[in-house]
């Protein structure tokens, strides 16, 4: 099984996801979309962990556990983030990230 798909493929996809996430974070104007981009980043990390674990260090499960925890934390993070975004919406009547620049310089 391990011979079929080389590890590099996973790494390439995860790296692509990582940078896509970053790209999304830097360019999307909607706060929710930005949050989704973060999730992309976190997922790319998960892929990494799992792939490394499976391919390189199958004798223990550090990578797997790590990715599980990351998923859980990501959920918590998303919850809080969305709560705050709602708050933003209440205050700014918008969730456009460029509007949220009252404090600067």
């Amino acid at each position: 099984m391990t011979g079929t798909i080389p590890l590099q493929y996973f790494l390439i996809i995860s790296t692509l996801m990582f940078f896509t996430g970053i790209y999304g974070f830097l360019t999307r104007k909607n706060l929710i979309t930005m949050l989704m981009s973060i999730e992309l980043i976190l997922n790319s990390v998960n892929i990494n962990f799992v792939a490394f674990n499976r391919y390189l260090y199958p004798e223990n499960l550090h990578g797997h556990f790590f990715s599980l925890i990351v998923i859980a934390v990501a959920a918590a993070e998303a919850a809080v983030a969305i709560a705050i975004i709602i708050n933003i919406y209440r205050n700014f009547r918008s969730i456009d990230v460029d509007k949220v620049d009252e404090m600067k310089f």
Binding site: F25, L26, T27, M34, V97, V100, D101, K104, F105
Partner: protein
């Protein structure tokens, strides 16, 4: 060893008077301060005469030279292992001679001022300053080492400053005192540099060690050269610069005429008899060094003296302020003394110049003090300094007239008054050693007679001026000193100086050299005759003569524009081209640079504020690119 420790009292009495009147002066009645000062000086005079008599005659073993002795010495400060500054009292012929001069003139001036300064606001202050001056001058005279001399040299400078500026509410007095101090201070810088060099080479300050023919100074005769002169020659020229400043030698003389802004007794004491001859005294002190090690420096002394005496005599012929005429005359006479030292050799008859210089110093002190005090009496009577405001005063001021006339004859070198003897010796010395200088001095002798009698006639003869108040003779406190000094002027020429004050302490024989004496007396008489013709009665002759000289007269009248040159150098060059740019540079460049740093920091703070745009995405952008830059640095470059 004969005990001279009591001589310590000589400088200490004036010091005590100074401290007492200075601190308690405002509580005392003014006259009391005056009397205390005068009494103190009386004691000093007695002690000085006693010392002189003991030193020259009583304690002296006939047939031996006059040794120099340290009556007293304490350590004041030690600089290095070898260089120690001591304060003490050195007695040797010239010191004792100066002691007599200083105490006599100072005592006379103290008495005289009781009358002259009566009713002045700062009477007590005047006496305080006089005591300070007397203390400093005595300390200078009795100095055992060159550094002590420098210390008191500065102190006389400051006393002179205080006394010239005595009328401190008068701007001219203030600026004159300032000028005097600064010019002499500049000269003192030369003195200091001279001492620095001399002490570095010889590792001693002590006069006795310095002048000892086997001393360290003598070993320096060769040494490194700079511009063809050996180091010690330079050192001595620098030392002489100090002397030239104090003695108002060309071109450092400009302060002396202005110093006449001070009260007249001060001019008599400081600027005629004592302080101004300090330069001569200094050269005389170091004479063996000059003579044996650095003859080149001695040439400088001689020529500076000669030029100054001619220069001053010419100017004196044109001035109308009587005190200024006397001031230039002083400068001219000191030029004589310097010249005498400059042409002298060391030991025996070669040292004639040395003896003559000191002799002239002595007689000059008497007659010049007399002239100034006389001038003071005149000013006291007519309340003016300008000879054009005077005339025909002989009727009103008989005593002043007679004593003044005596002084004029003395300075003109008419035998058998004292001036004849001393001046004659100088001319003889010059005649034998340096012909060009002799010719100059010969001419100056004539000029001297001329301008003194010009002064004399303008004051006491000439036109009858109408005075607001009828001038009256001065009180006894002022006339007695005149008479005493007149006595001194007449008879001091008979003192056997060639036995007492010589370059090597050994007596030698002198005689009048008719080859020199006769012409010099004749030219003196010629000067008097010319003056008589021109000034005895009101006539157009002076005007004609002055126009005859044309520009030269104008130049001389304006003192050859020396003041202007100095003003140009100080105000225009030093102030405007150095000081002002320095101040500007400091404020704008140095300080500006510091402010610029602050400005740059502030400015850059504004420039980079765009990074903090308030937008999350830009923050993210910076974050990511920061990481990437670090990655590039540490993986690819590092």
């Amino acid at each position: 060893m004969i005990d001279y420790t009591y001589t310590l009292l000589i400088p200490l009495i004036p010091l005590a008077v100074f401290l007492f009147t200075g601190l308690a002066g405002s509580k005392l009645k003014p006259q009391v301060s005056g009397l205390i000062g005068t009494t103190g000086l009386f004691a000093v005079t007695i002690l000085s005469y006693l010392t002189a008599i003991r030193y020259f005659w009583t304690d002296h073993v006939a047939g031996t030279g006059y040794a120099s002795m340290k009556a007293f010495e304490i350590q004041w400060l030690h600089l290095t292992e070898k260089l120690t500054i001591n304060l003490g009292i050195l007695l040797d012929p010239i010191a004792v001679m100066m002691l007599v001069v200083v105490s006599t003139v100072s005592f006379m001036v103290h008495i005289y001022s009781l009358g002259y300064m009566k009713g002045e606001k700062g009477f007590a202050r005047f006496y305080t300053f006089l005591s300070l001056f007397t203390f400093s001058m005595l300390g200078l005279v009795l100095a055992t080492n060159i550094f002590q001399m420098y210390i008191f040299w500065e102190l006389v400078g400051v006393s002179s400053f205080l006394l010239i500026g005595f009328y401190y509410e008068k701007p001219s007095a203030v600026s004159a005192s300032k000028k005097a101090f600064i010019v002499t201070r500049f000269a003192d810088l030369g003195f200091l540099i001279g001492i620095l060099m001399l002490s570095f080479m010889t590792e001693t300050f002590d006069f006795r060690t310095l002048v000892s023919p086997t001393g360290p100074a003598m070993a320096q005769a060769g040494g490194a050269t700079f511009l063809g002169l050996s180091a010690i020659t330079w050192a001595l020229i620098f030392v002489f610069m100090g002397g030239a400043g104090k003695s108002a030698m060309f071109p450092l003389h400009i302060w002396l005429p202005d110093a006449m802004e001070g009260p007249t007794p001060v001019s008599a004491l400081i600027h005629a008899a004592t302080m101004v001859v300090a330069g001569v005294y200094l050269v005389a002190r170091l004479f063996p060094v000059y003579s044996l090690v650095a003859p080149d420096a001695l040439h400088v002394v001689a020529w500076v003296g000669g030029i100054s005496s001619l220069f001053a005599a010419i100017i004196a012929c044109t001035q109308t302020d009587i005190k200024r005429v006397l001031a230039y005359s002083t400068m001219s006479q000191i030029g004589y003394m310097m010249l005498a030292l400059g042409v002298s050799g060391y030991g025996g008859h070669d040292g004639l110049g040395f003896m003559a210089g000191n002799f002239h110093l002595f007689t000059h002190a008497m007659f010049k003090a007399l002239l100034f005090l006389g001038a003071g009496a005149i000013i006291h009577a007519v309340h003016s300094n300008d000879m054009r405001d005077m005339g025909g005063l002989r009727k009103y001021l008989p005593i002043t007239h007679i004593t003044f006339l005596i002084a004029c004859l003395t300075i003109a070198g008419i035998p058998p008054l004292s001036g004849f003897f001393s001046k004659d010796e100088i001319l003889v010395a010059a005649f034998h050693h340096n012909m060009p200088l002799f010719i100059i001095e010969f001419a100056v002798a004539g000029l001297t007679a001329f301008y003194m009698f010009r002064l004399y006639y303008s004051i006491f003869w000439g036109k009858e001026t109408h005075y607001h108040h009828t001038p009256h003779e001065a009180p006894a406190t002022m006339t007695i000193p005149l008479l005493v000094l007149a006595f001194g002027s007449v008879f001091s020429g008979f003192l056997p100086f060639h036995n007492l004050v010589t370059s090597d302490g050994q007596p030698f024989e002198t005689h009048i050299d008719y080859m020199v004496a006769v012409p010099s007396v004749l030219i003196g008489i010629l000067g008097i005759v010319v003056a008589t013709i021109m000034y005895r009665k009101v006539s157009g002759a002076p005007l004609k003569v002055s126009t005859g000289f044309g520009n030269f007269y104008t130049w001389a009248y304006h003192k050859f524009y020396m003041d202007e040159v100095y003003l140009f150098v100080t105000k225009k060059i030093l102030f405007n081209l150095v000081s002002r740019p320095v101040a500007w540079f400091d404020r704008h460049i140095v300080d500006g640079f510091m402010n610029l740093i602050a400005r740059v920091i502030e400015r850059s703070a504004y420039l980079i504020k765009g990074f903090q745009s308030g937008r999350i995405q830009q923050y993210g952008y910076v974050f990511v690119s920061g990481t990437i830059v670090l990655v590039i640095i540490f993986i690819y470059i590092w």
